[in-house]
Symmetry: C2
Subunit: 205 residues, 2 copies
Amino acid sequence: MVDKAVPDATRRSQRSHRAILDAALELVGEMGYPRLTIEAIAARAGVGKQTIYRWWPSKAAVLLDAFEVLGERAAREAGGDAASEIPDTGDLAADLKRVLRATVDELTSPAYDLPIRALTAEGVINAEVGAEFVSRILEPGLRLYATRLTAAQEAGQVAADIDPRIALELLVGPLTHRWLLRTGPLTHAYADALVETALRGLSPR
Amino acid sequence: MVDKAVPDATRRSQRSHRAILDAALELVGEMGYPRLTIEAIAARAGVGKQTIYRWWPSKAAVLLDAFEVLGERAAREAGGDAASEIPDTGDLAADLKRVLRATVDELTSPAYDLPIRALTAEGVINAEVGAEFVSRILEPGLRLYATRLTAAQEAGQVAADIDPRIALELLVGPLTHRWLLRTGPLTHAYADALVETALRGLSPR
DNA sequence: ACAGCGAGGCGAGACGTTCCGTCTCGGCGT
DNA sequence: ACGCCGAGACGGAACGTCTCGCCTCGCTGT
């Protein structure tokens, strides 16, 4: 056997599972990630410590799950099943601005800010957590940009020889940079300026 | 008095100061930031714990100082006093590529990678540390881009109505994004592609 | 000019506290 | 009755404070 003593998932308490995830989200908002302790999560959730250690390898993993649930819930609320798509009105700049503005709102939302910062920071240091974070939380959002940009490319609104991946990062990278490092205000105006500058380029025409 | 019991800086032991900074850098490379302890730094430096607590408020502050010294030393080695400037050969793309490549090399250098990741991550969570990090470590580097881009703007190589700050972030943002989140390979080829795409823009000409 | 003295940083480490991760209990649901 | 559950005891690690002498300064009185 590779894994030893894997617990029986079918007997898992659904109630405790939820309580732990909720408690983790609450607490990380209250005292921040570094001072978040597994003991505090267990106490808040009304759960034995072993129940956490049985199912998660680290507090980062708990938070990763908790945040994924939060994201799914938000996506469900935000309108049915086809909500997570970038609209294609034919006006590429307007479409991109809309989504970039939404991203700004999400990143500056007080409920999201602390937990997602905590996870990002942990991912920066811990490559394993980082990979999980990117593939489970970040990548789904980025794929929206990629598909919209590819569509734009086929419609001739984006030069044919441009790598959609680089185009995507040209938009999202500066935004993330400002958000993480706080090098400037994160506003709708900035999102708009970013879209315009990225589409047009720096060189004079 | 606002501050109480501020120690007398003139009596500070220069030897211990250096030893602590050196030990901190060594240890963060050996075991990573989260497992770096002040006790370990004190032991490695041959110093009492109180000597660290007397002069620094947190391990992040120690590392901040340590990394600043490292940066100054590197700048001094890299040739005299006028080393920290972007060359202006008239070819904007080439100049930017050169510096962006150098940044890539620095970020992927094994000696720098761990400590600078640790500081960045800490700054992401702790706004106070973040501000220090940006102003003392990051901003000096960014200013180089800003001056070169402004010069390019005056020479007509960059459109006049572009905010140099946004132009700068268009280049550095995606690089930082890839580096921090490991969403793709951080190579010279990527740096080049970034410069070309940013200058030209996404739209077809 | 110089010996004496007090202030304060220094290395070392003891101390109580918090949290870690493991382990051991009954209890209880399946 | 098997195994997850809540609860919490346990030893270990690191925290941040504190208390020791030790040593090096700068001031001071002769």
